[in-house]
């Protein structure tokens, strides 16, 4: 388990305090913490558990349930491909394969230079734009497999 630096500890405690250290705010606390640090390693989850006075198992239960939360650092440009029904039937799987090939990583991994990470998720609520890919906060709709390389080039 990696040790947290004291400034990180202070920041996490501050986030918990901003939600009144309330058990019911766990998801909000996790959101804010991930936004700040990029990911939620074990040491961070244990500290949050202690601050909210709940068990580490409970925190891990929530983190492991929602695909949004991650225990591994993401790339500078996190790629999320929607595999919801609409996107799936319109070829999202081919898009995933193309990304895997172009970046030479598997789903859930980060490129060695730390630039891109690749994840799949279920329905971002933009089915009209299927298949949908999110890179960071930007939505790319109606993406076809043969456009993947071109899209990645924009982030070079």
């Amino acid at each position: 388990m990696e040790e947290l630096q004291s400034c990180q500890i202070d920041k996490i405690k501050e986030i918990c305090r901003s939600f009144n250290n309330a058990e019911g705010e766990l998801i909000n606390v996790l959101h804010k913490t991930q936004e700040t640090f990029g990911y939620l390693p074990e040491s961070v989850q244990r500290l949050i558990a202690a601050e909210l006075n709940i068990s580490a198992a409970q925190v891990y239960g929530v983190v492991s349930f929602y695909t949004f939360f991650t225990m591994k650092p993401k790339g500078k440009f996190p790629i999320s491909i929607c595999l919801g029904t609409a996107c799936y039937v319109r070829g999202a799987e081919d898009v995933v394969d193309e990304f895997k090939k172009a970046l030479d990583i598997k789903v859930g991994e980060v490129t060695p230079d730390g630039k891109f990470s690749l994840d799949c998720l279920r329905c971002v609520g933009a089915c009209g734009l299927a298949p949908v890919v999110l890179i960071g906060d930007k939505v790319h709709g109606r993406l076809e497999a043969n456009q993947v390389k071109e899209l990645l080039a924009q982030y070079e």
């Binding site: 074990e42 989850q45 244990r46 558990a49 709940i54 068990s55 580490a56 198992a57 409970q58 925190v59 891990y60 239960g61 492991s64 349930f65």
Partner: protein, 585 residues
Amino acid sequence: METIKLTIDNKRVIVTKGTTVHQAAKQAGIHIPTLCYMNLELLNIENKPGGCRICVVEQEGRRNLAPSCSTVCTEGMVIKTNSPRVLNARKTVLELILSDHPKDCLICPKAGRCELQTLAFQLGIRRIHSVENAEMSTYRKDQSPSIIRDMDKCVMCRRCEMICNKVQTVGALSAVNRGFMSVVAPAFEQDLKHSPCTFCGQCVAICPTGALTEVDQVQRLIRALTDKTKTVVVQTAPAVRVALGEEFDMPPGSIVTGKMVAALREMDFKYVFDTDFAADLTIMEEGSELLDRLTRYVAGDKSVKLPILTSCCPAWVNFFEYNYPDMLDVPSTARSPQQMFGSIAKTYLADKLGIKREDMVVVSVMPCLAKKYECQRDEFKVNGNPDVDYAISTRELAHLMREANINFAALPDEEFDHPLGESTGAGVIFGATGGVIEAAVRTAYELFTGNKCPRIDFEELRGLEGIRTATVDFNGTPIHIGIAHKLGNARKLLDGIRSGLYNLHAIEIMACPGGCIGGAGQPLHQGDSSIIKERFDAIYREDAQKTIRKSHENPYIIKLYEEFLGKPLSEKSHHLLHTHYFEKK
């Protein structure tokens, strides 16, 4: 109270408002099968996630089937619990559960006691549809000193999660991941031994399948019994004798002390002794400690730590070592009866018998799974040799007896061996919540006041209420006593003391519901809490039958102090019968 009329399977039923369909059916004598649902009414423990859908019923006018465990009765409701649609749905649900469950039932440790197996039998499942080459979700096995987790067999009933978090407030387990990979596990799916688990084992006691089981020592024990160089000595905990009979189809609450002794002797245990003797010894030490602290407190010594907390329950010890590291000097330093027995057996008894401690094997039969962990603690070893070699559960003893062809019902009643087999009623009641403190009061009263206690039975200390307090008059000095069973209640009581809500002198805490009689090593109650009540009553019946009912009047205890220990809290006693606690993180 407002009542509601409804019809279940053409029977008119009247229930109070708020009753569920499942409860109403039970009242009408109709059994609706369940898997995740469990209600231990007398112990105030309920699991109702509404997850398994085995208990579905058909409700007139409702489009889909209703889960009876979590559907509340309404006026004029018409329910069918056994229509073809219901039976079909139940079978489909069960087949789906079984499609992701291992099929090694013949050699499963839960075989014959598995609720999933019973359900498959009841519902007449004859085949399990499965997709060709379909994978089953599989997980790493996890073995702790007490508990084995084989989550391949988990059906996500979430009973363990409920008891670990809501009842015990231990927080070792939580449902993690999602979809096929969802499972109940410790934080970060690490091993139980790296979690806050206290090994109370209540998760094992209520797991419907073989996902959670105890570490089985029976085969190693059989090897020890057949080793001619070893002298195998056994001790039996008080709660075992009021529950063991259930494993042999006797009614709950049967007292089988004599038959149990006969069975152990028949299986070649060289000496059959009683943990109750060590319980009496515990009272001498713990009672003297209480007395010492009280006397100093009354005299105005401000450094005295009160209330004194009992330390017989190993799950409770683990709990405070983890959760209350700032209070490690508050509990009594007295070891548990199991460990006192082991310590005395491998010194006093070994000397008497003229054998080396390495050649003696001490076995304990316990209603408890945490005892398996306790006897492995380093403090209870001398040069690596443990004071207690094997702690087996009541269930394991029953397994061993079945394996050895013991016809239990036909056995005669036999007596324990001497000198470590003589015990008093005070030792017996250690098995029920409130019993340890009542036993302590019987002795402490007489040592404190110097007078004979006018009564033996302290009814005010008995009961199944989760937290109880009472004041006992020590001849003019009021002694305030607190009792808690289930670790969540222990936490409430301790937090109440910190906040000044309670002002108490002595507190007894037991981790399991009802005390040791409801321990995780006992025959499985399968959701019937009346069994715990029967055992509870039986413990006090056994106490009432005893000629001697106060620990300090046990002649063999008196002799032990004369011949060996000197007096309670002597240097030798401290060395052999006391311990210290460590912060766990």
